[in-house]
């Protein structure tokens, strides 16, 4: 079983890297970009076969290590196979 985790900055947290990317895009002529938020994507290969248990484990991993919940949100997607 696989887990796909998206980690994003919470609303209201300034993202200077996202701003720099937005400015660079504008420099390339892509002027239609209102905002850029940069985050992380993490993929895990799990041995757990039970979907609910896997999700609970990954949630715990996010809280303890993968995300800093002071400034980041995370979303978990469990994929079979």
């Amino acid at each position: 079983m696989k887990a796909k985790i998206h980690i994003t900055l919470k609303n209201g947290v300034l993202d200077p890297q996202g701003k720099a990317v937005q400015t660079a895009l504008a420099g390339l002529g892509f002027t239609g970009v209102n905002d850029v938020r940069q985050g992380k994507f993490i993929e895990l290969e799990l041995t757990e076969a039970d979907r609910a248990k896997a999700e609970a484990q990954v949630d715990d991993m996010c809280k303890k290590l993968l995300a800093n919940t002071v400034i980041e949100n995370y979303a978990i997607e469990i994929v079979e196979g």
Binding site: L14, P16, L65, I71
Partner: protein, 229 residues
């Protein structure tokens, strides 16, 4: 006085911290490897600067989960003074000993220069040997020193006199150019509620000898020595 410096893979200010502690306190300084939770009894602990674990995932995130840090948290809760410098500050926020987080510098650049700090409180084991409002010169060298916390926590830090240092100019005034990283409220260092844990981005351990350009960092280690004596 016996002290410990925590050593992670990627620490690079651990020797400076050791020299500063040894020079100022005259006591033994244990270099405590991160994988070894069996730390001797010490009077003070320094979590040094550097790039622990290559800053993988987030600055300080992996180091925060190392065996020795669980022990450092226990000692801090027992009241042992713990000083986190630069990457050490990042580690202390990751383990929850200090509130907030150190984000990428506002201008995205690595900043390496001397800055001026105003001593905002002398009520802590790290600052008694300074005078209130004293302006000191200390170097910074970091990419992620932009201190951020939520509005409620910021108010709490202000109300409880827990901002230890602010970035100022040479005259002690808070000006936009004095803040090297965009930190909220010009915060350069914060204390925990019990005031025995201090995290700061600037490097006091680099200014303990005149040959290195100044001695404004000495008083911090003298303060710790006075506090545990």
């Amino acid at each position: 006085m016996k002290s410990a410096v925590i050593v992670f893979p990627g620490s690079n200010c651990d020797r400076d911290a050791q020299t500063a502690l040894r020079d100022v306190t005259g006591g033994e300084v244990v270099m405590q490897w991160h994988g070894d939770a069996d730390m001797p009894d010490v009077d003070a602990i320094v979590v040094p600067g550097g790039f622990s674990y290559g800053d993988y995932l987030r600055c300080g995130a992996i180091a925060g989960n190392s065996p020795v840090m669980r022990e450092v948290v226990k000692r801090a809760e027992m009241g042992v003074p713990v000083l986190g410098i630069c990457n050490g500050f990042q580690v202390l926020t990751e383990v929850g000993l200090l509130p907030g987080v150190l984000m990428r510098n506002a201008d995205l650049k690595f900043v390496c220069r001397d800055v001026f700090l105003r001593v905002e409180t002398t009520t802590s084991p790290f600052t008694t040997q300074y005078t209130p409002g004293q302006v000191i010169k200390v170097p910074v060298a970091h990419h992620d020193g932009n201190y951020v916390t939520d509005a409620d926590t910021l108010k709490l830090l202000q109300d409880q006199d827990r901002v230890a240092f602010r970035y100022v100019d040479a005259t002690g005034a808070r000006t936009p150019g004095a803040n090297p990283n965009g930190a909220m409220d010009d915060i350069a260092g914060v204390l925990n509620e019990k005031r025995n844990v201090l995290g700061m981005m600037p490097h006091p351990e680099r200014l303990i000898d005149q040959v290195l350009g100044g001695t404004d960092g000495r008083a911090m280690f003298e303060s710790v020595l006075a506090a545990v004596a």
